[in-house]
Amino acid sequence: MLTAQLDPLAASLFSLMAIASLVLAFVMLGSRWLNNYLYAFAAESWIIAVLSASVAYYGGYPELYLIALLTALFRGLVLPFLIWRIMRRLDVSRELHEILQPSSALVVGALGVVFALIVAYRIGDSIGLASRVAVLALTVMLSMKLIGFLMLAVRREALSQILGLLVLENGIFLGAQILIPGMPLLIEIVILFDLLIIVACFGVLIQYLVANVGSTSSRDLKRLVG
């Protein structure tokens, strides 16, 4: 276990980064400008890359340097670039008809974090975890999951939904770096590539939406019911 024998500096560094990415998730939740989502997502990805590198350094997992590099490259540069290109083509810059106001969404998100914290503490107690970092990682992982689902649920724009999905993935990836740094390299790399393909598919589908449905808002997707 990595988290069992951490020196205090590393532990606080990991905690800091985990919390920073959680805060960035809240930035996404509290804004209605698509630009802000994108910047927050890119920043979050860079934080995860730095986290991978520091886990590699403190935990002695040299292969994680490669993951850090790939994360920075794919999640930090390529994915935001792809999404930025879609955004430029679409000419949609903000959410117009969200179901929940950003301010209320923040409150619901905070409740989600409390719930995640309770679950994480219970699991941590039952395993008898000595380290608080693992509990924190689990909390952040579950909260980002809940926040991602919240974004999917209360936002209408196709792009916000893609970014919501990416927040879900980021949360898992962040938690995985701390909880299971020894995860086989092959799996991590394949998941990274998989994400690229997903976003590329979304890009194509959005074009179809524009061409055939004439809108990228899920408000206009209500032909199929019952």
């Binding site: 699991i123 299971i180 194509v204 589908l205 939406l209 449905v213 032909r223």
Partner: protein, 485 residues
């Protein structure tokens, strides 16, 4: 030998997809895909037989052929073959010859990704394979480019990707729980997980299992995560509907079954089973409600898939040898029968130019032969004898009575009766209600032949449960139960 067969089964669709992209002719693409389907089918049968020699591992343990996987692969190969035959006739009716090579390339890739799900031995790679099936099939769902198809494709990819990300979280947590026992780095194969199961922390396993169940359950179409299913199944071209329903859902169910065995081993089996049974009952209930008041003919079939996935979930949830055997037999029967139903629905829709039950009339008079086949299929899918689904549902019911799930059995019985009445009532309307003036477009023999090919085995499986199949399924049940000891 088994390795060679596996390679043939996987390479055939891969090469066909490549060939479609190289030659780009509609007729060549048809031929290539059909050839691949025949080859995969021909390889899947001996593969299922050979899998009895004990599990075979390949490529540094990343690939596994066991009796369970080989069975699901066989179901998928059967549907792939039937759908490929049907697609030849059906896709010509659509009249998009210029784009047809792309359709068949994706079709073959779709089959390939389903086969890949089935043989993955690593839980992480299995997740990736399932995700890939979504990405490939999204474009098949949206192939017709109508606003409805694109809407269905968008809902499909968003809902299923979100759902399956829960399964990824569950997979990560399973890995974490294993790392307390097996050390920080290990290969998370199904066997390793099952062997480590008794030493895993039960709370963590419960959390992970529930996440995995909801995640892959989304892909299986268990209610209440089924919302993408009726849209995607009804708006995609009919051969794709058959593949989605008959092959893809089973491949996703496989993951749940494998994790269920781990949960059993970790001593949280009762909770795991009860949740699965609850999802099964919910699916049956949702299926029933929407079947009774349905107007779209393909949506009717789609909700019937929700119902049957619920039945399969009940079978695995009840557990015991009978439950597992019944559920696996139900997979095969459902694959055959649902293909038949979607083929029939596709034919009728294309012939009469409507997808609403209220405007489809006089099916019996206009199409005596395929109308009879479709009606027989409808009787079969509601679980009436003498067809295969009757036998498998009976076995699942009996399995439930011998375990502690009698309450679920009674609910299931009532709902099955309601479905029987509701489903066949729609057919009464389409077949026997007085009709207006209708002109029908004839469909080619390509569209009718696969209906025969699925109905005849379905009938045979209903009157005679081959001993070889029974033994095979019993062996799977023993393998899954062995995890607990």
């Amino acid at each position: 030998m088994a390795g060679a067969l596996l390679l043939i089964m996987m390479l055939a669709p891969a090469l066909a997809a490549l060939g479609c992209a190289v030659f780009r002719g509609p007729r060549v693409a048809e031929l290539l895909n059909l050839g691949a389907a025949v080859t995969s089918f021909a390889a899947a049968i001996p593969l299922a037989v050979l899998s009895a020699d004990g599990p075979h591992h390949y490529w540094a343990n990343y690939i596994l052929i066991d009796m369970l996987g080989a069975w699901v692969a066989l179901c998928a190969a059967i549907v792939y073959l039937l759908a490929s035959i049907y697609a030849v006739g059906y896709m010509r009716l659509i009249g998009e010859d210029a784009k047809l090579w792309g359709f068949y390339a994706l079709f073959a890739l779709f089959a390939l990704t389903i086969f890949a799900c089935v043989v993955m031995n690593d839980a992480g790679l299995y997740w990736i394979a399932v995700e890939l099936t979504t990405l490939v099939s999204t474009f098949l769902v949206g192939f017709e480019r109508a606003a409805e198809s694109i809407e269905a494709a968008w809902k499909y990819i968003i809902i299923v990707s979100a759902g399956i990300s829960l399964a990824l979280l569950g997979t990560v947590l399973f890995y974490w729980s294993g790392s307390f026992v097996l050390g920080p780095t290990y290969q998370m194969t199904w066997d390793v997980l099952r062997e480590a199961a008794p030493k895993l922390n039960p709370h963590l396993v419960t959390l992970s299992y529930l996440l995995v169940l909801v995640g892959y359950g989304t892909k299986v179409g268990l209610a209440p995560m089924h919302t993408w299913l009726p849209d995607a199944h009804s708006e995609s071209p009919a051969p794709i509907s058959a593949m989605l329903s008959g092959a893809l859902l089973n491949a996703a169910m496989l993951g749940i079954v494998r994790y269920l065995a781990v949960a059993d081993g970790a001593g949280v089996g009762l909770l795991a089973r009860t949740t699965l049974v609850a999802f099964g009952i919910a699916s049956l209930l949702v299926g029933t409600l929407f079947i009774v008041r349905q107007n779209g003919v393909k949506r009717l079939m789609a909700y019937s898939s929700v119902e049957h996935m619920g039945v399969i979930a009940l079978g695995f949830g009840f557990g015991g040898p009978l439950g597992v055997v019944g559920a696996l037999y139900h997979m095969l029967n459902h694959s055959l029968n649902k293909s038949l139903m979607f083929f029939g629905a596709g034919n009728i829709m294309r012939s009469l130019g409507s997808k609403d039950i209220t405007s489809l009339r006089g099916v019996w008079r206009l199409f005596p032969v395929q109308g009879a086949l479709w009606l027989a299929g409808a009787v079969a899918i509601t679980g009436a004898p003498p067809f295969g689904l009757f036998l498998s549902e009976l076995v699942i019911l009996r399995a439930g009575l011998t375990q502690s799930f009698a309450w679920a059995v009674y609910i299931m019985l009532v709902l099955l009766v309601v479905i029987f009445v509701g489903f066949l009532n729609h057919f009464r309307v389409m077949y026997f209600e007085p009709e207006g003036k209708q002109t029908a477009v004839r469909v080619s023999a390509w569209c009718v032949a696969p209906m025969w090919l699925s109905l005849i085995p379905l009938f045979i499986l209903g009157v005679w449960w081959p001993h070889a199949i029974w033994d095979h399924l019993m062996a799977v049940a023993r393998m899954l139960a062995g995890a607990g000891s």
